[in-house]
């Protein structure tokens, strides 16, 4: 049984259909990347998984349990966590409070403040600053840490590299092995294909709300990816 099994996930914004039946799986311990251009439906897919977007109950299964369409606060309690696009830190909370609120659901697991400060030492130095006073890269670390504090079985990351300098992106992605080492599986959505190819065990490409390509990075050719990504 796969850790995450998405089958025929659809999403609508009013009359506009954003997803046309996405099939995707993530195995325990895997890092899976979803690539695709702007508007391909990557973020909508993550929102459907976590419960911010309406989804059919059986279309999303976590460890066999049907969780599609459950409210987000329940899904988080069951072991999914999302690092949202744009980070969305709480402005009236300090760095440490932002991290602590991640543990609100109270799931047991390996992640706690000490473990996170070991992963991102700069956050311990800045722990009493308002979350939004940090640099973009540091804010992204807080957003990742906040999601990890809920001790998810699967961490969903939406566009970690958005708006960050390449050297910062490298630092952020350098934390991924440490996250996997604790047994947390990861599903990343990326526009940066090179970055996605480097970190992923498997890759999915979305185009206009459908899966246009799936496979292991080393088995896919440039031409295949280019065709699946741009449709030309």
């Amino acid at each position: 049984m796969s850790l995450l099994e998405a089958q025929g996930v659809t999403a609508f914004y009013g009359d506009f259909q954003a997803l046309y039946g996405i099939d995707l799986t993530v195995e325990e311990g895997e890092t899976v990347a979803v690539i695709g251009s702007n508007g391909a439906g990557k973020s909508s897919f993550l929102r459907a998984l976590i419960g911010l977007q309406v989804a059919a109950r059986d279309s999303v299964r976590l460890d066999g349990q049907a969780i599609g369409g459950l409210p987000a606060h329940q899904v988080v309690g069951l072991g999914l966590a999302l690092v949202p696009e744009g980070r969305r830190l709480f402005p009236s909370l300090t760095v440490e409070e932002n991290l602590l609120i991640g543990a609100y659901a109270g799931r047991p697991g390996p992640w706690n403040l000490a473990r996170l400060y070991a992963l991102f030492p700069i956050l311990e130095e800045r722990r009493h600053s308002p979350g939004t006073a940090l640099s973009g890269g540091q804010q992204q670390m807080v957003a990742i840490g906040r999601a990890l504090m809920s001790n998810p079985r699967l961490l969903l990351c939406d566009e970690l590299s958005l708006g960050l300098a390449p050297i910062i992106i490298r630092d952020i992605y350098a934390a991924l092995p440490g996250i996997k080492a604790e047994g947390t599986s990861v599903l990343v959505v990326e526009q940066d294909v090179g970055q996605a190819m480097r970190v992923a065990d498997r890759l999915y490409c979305f185009q206009e709300g459908r899966v246009s390509l799936a496979g292991r990075p080393d088995e896919l050719t440039r031409e295949q990816i280019s065709l699946a990504y741009f449709g030309i």
Partner: protein, 290 residues
Amino acid sequence: MAEWINTLLQGVLLGGLYSLFATGLALSFGVMRMINIAHGDFAILAAFAAIAVVEPLGLSPWMTLLVIVPLMGGFGYVLQRLVLNRTLGHDILPPLLVTFGLSIMIQNLLLVSFSADTRSLNVGELGTASVLLGGDVAVGVLPLIIMAVAVGVLVGLQWLFSATSLGRAFRAASDDREAAQLMGINNRHIYGVAMALAMAIVAIAGIFLAIRANISPADGPARLLYAFEAVIIGGLGSLWGTLAGGVILGVAQSIGLKADPGWGILAGHLAFLAVLVVRPNGLFARTRDR
């Protein structure tokens, strides 16, 4: 001279009662971004509930707090979950209209049940007892108790907001509802708890009001107005600002009353307008604009 000091002290202590009225309003605005037009009526409702139980249960007016405050808290939670949560969204009008409707319903319900006569809770000698501070300066014991409770409520809320998991959830849900859900926070429950707290605090205010003065079923809107003024003078979103706002309002009213018995209320409104002119965001507003 002593007369003026007395006037000032009375005004400051009256601010304690206004602060109690304002705190619940500030809380529901701070957490849910919701303006509760029925806030004053809930206070009067709690006061009449206390008047209704004081004789049949053979309680002292103080003991009614132990009964009515938890009851009103529970009522607040249920009301938020069943009614008010459904009005929350991008549009600020639905909660205004629904709580306005509640305000009318409560006033009429009280009118039918208790008639338009004024009523109060009698605490005997304590109601008029005072402490001599020296010279001719004296303060009432009851206003002192009310001020102490107001400060105690604010200290408790300050602790709740800054040091507890529930307080962090309040602030997170206020900052960003959707991101709060991603933390496993059930916003509907959190809003229910916030309304329970607001309702419990305004119940204390209502019962104190009935101990201090006569009340009638139509008194709610005037109480709401003072609470609004205290919140806005203090600055939206600032807890301690409500105490400062209440005290400024109380002092202005006392001074106005001293000048002429008809000027008390007017002086309060004038002080409110003066603060609006000088500091449109209030004295202690959080600088973050949303």
